[in-house]
Amino acid sequence: MDDAQLARELQRSGDPAHFEQLVERHRGAVFRLILSILGSGREGAAEELTQDVFVKVYRRIGQFRGEAKFSSWLYRIAYNQAVSYRSRARFRLPHYGEEVLAMTPSERPQDDPHQRATRAEIASAVKDCLDQLPHLYRSVLNLYYWMGMTVPEIGQTISAPDGTVKSYLYRGRARLQKLLDEKGIHHV
C-alpha cells in the first residue's frame, strides 16, 4: 500500500498498524528535517518534536484529504512544528567545549595544532552563522552539507522542484558567506 492508501485505511478503520507503517516510512526524514531547522547540537529536542509531529498527525489524520501527497502534508506539519519551536524556545547555540572544538572538523594528521584550532573556530563560526539564516536556507544547507542528502531528496522533503532547491542552496551560501565576511571569517 502506498502512503495515501495507508492514510485512507487509517481514517476508515483507525487501525494502529497502518499508522505504524507510516511512522516507519517517514520518521527518519521528519527527524532530519526538524533537526535541519533546529541546527547542530539539538538532537534531543528534534527527537521530541518528531514525536509531537506524529502524535499530531495521528490526531489530524481525518484532515488529510489526499489532494497533496501524504509526505508533503506530513513534512509541512514537521516544518511548521520546528519553526514554531524555534520561535518559542529561548534559542542559544549549544556550548562546544574545548575537546569538541579540538575534534571538529576532521583532524588531519599533517595539520599543526594552530591550523586545527583555526579550523575548529571556523567550523563553530559557520554553525553560528547558519543559525542566523532564514529557516528555509538553514534547513536546505544543513540537509545538503550535514545530512548528506542529494538535491532530489531535499526536493522531496521540502516539496520543491530540484531547480528551487539549487536556488535555495545558492542563495543560502551567498548569505552565509556575507555573514562570515562580516565576522571577518575567511576560508583557509
Binding site: R12, S13, G14, P16, F19, V23, R27, G28, F31, R32, L35, S40, E43, A46, E47, T50, Q51, D52, F54, V55, K56, Y58, R59, G62, M103, T104, P105, S106, E107, R119, I122, A123, V126, K127, L141, Y145, W146, M147, G148, V151, K166, S167, L169, Y170, R173, A174, L176, Q177, K178, L180, D181, I185, H186, H187
Partner: protein, 153 residues
C-alpha cells in the same frame, strides 16, 4: 539564479557535483567573479564544518516512547469499519427483541409518580450510555482524551 551568467550557472552546477571548491578549469573565472568566489568559499567551509559531524539518527527508544504517548488515543478508536456494522446490528437486534418481548409479555404497571422512577432514570441512562461506549469503543471526537505533549490541538 536567473540573473547569473551562463558561466556562473555552470560553476554553481559543478559545485553541486564536486567535493572540491576549486579546480584549475575554474581558476580564471573565480579570479574575475566575486559572487562565485563567495560560493566556493562558503561551499568549502560548510563541507569542512560538517566533515566530522556524524549524520544524526533517532534513538532506539523512539518507537516505544511514541507508542506510550499514543496509548490513550489508541485505546478508544472512532466507530468505523466492522465496529460500526456490529453496533448497527446490535441496535437493530435489540429493538426487534424489545418489540417482540413487549408484545409477548404483560408488563407490570408502573406508577410514574413514584419517587424512585426519576432516580432510577438518572442512574440507568448514563450507565447504559457508558456501557455502550465501553462495548463499542466509540466516543465522539470532541470528547476523546488528549495525550500528553506540547502539541496544540
Amino acid at each position: 539564479m536567473s540573473e547569473l551568467s551562463r558561466e556562473c550557472e555552470d560553476f554553481a552546477g559543478w559545485l553541486l557535483e564536486s567535493t572540491e571548491s576549486e579546480s584549475p578549469a575554474w581558476r580564471d573565472h573565480l579570479e574575475r567573479c566575486k559572487g562565485c568566489r563567495a560560493q566556493a568559499d562558503a561551499h568549502s567551509m560548510l563541507t569542512s564544518a560538517f566533515a566530522a559531524e556524524p549524520v544524526p539518527e533517532l534513538s532506539d527508544a523512539f518507537e516505544s516512547r511514541l507508542a506510550r504517548r499514543l496509548a490513550p488515543e489508541l485505546e478508544i478508536r472512532p466507530l468505523a469499519g466492522w465496529r460500526r456494522a456490529a453496533m448497527v446490528a446490535y441496535i437493530v437486534v435489540s429493538l426487534i427483541l424489545l418489540g417482540w418481548s413487549l408484545r409477548a409479555v404483560e408488563l407490570p404497571t408502573i406508577d410514574l409518580s413514584a419517587p424512585w422512577v426519576p432516580v432510577a432514570a438518572l442512574v440507568a441512562v448514563p450507565l447504559s450510555l457508558m456501557l455502550a461506549i465501553r462495548v463499542s469503543g466509540w466516543l465522539p471526537a470532541g470528547l476523546r482524551p488528549r495525550g500528553p505533549g506540547i502539541v496544540a490541538a
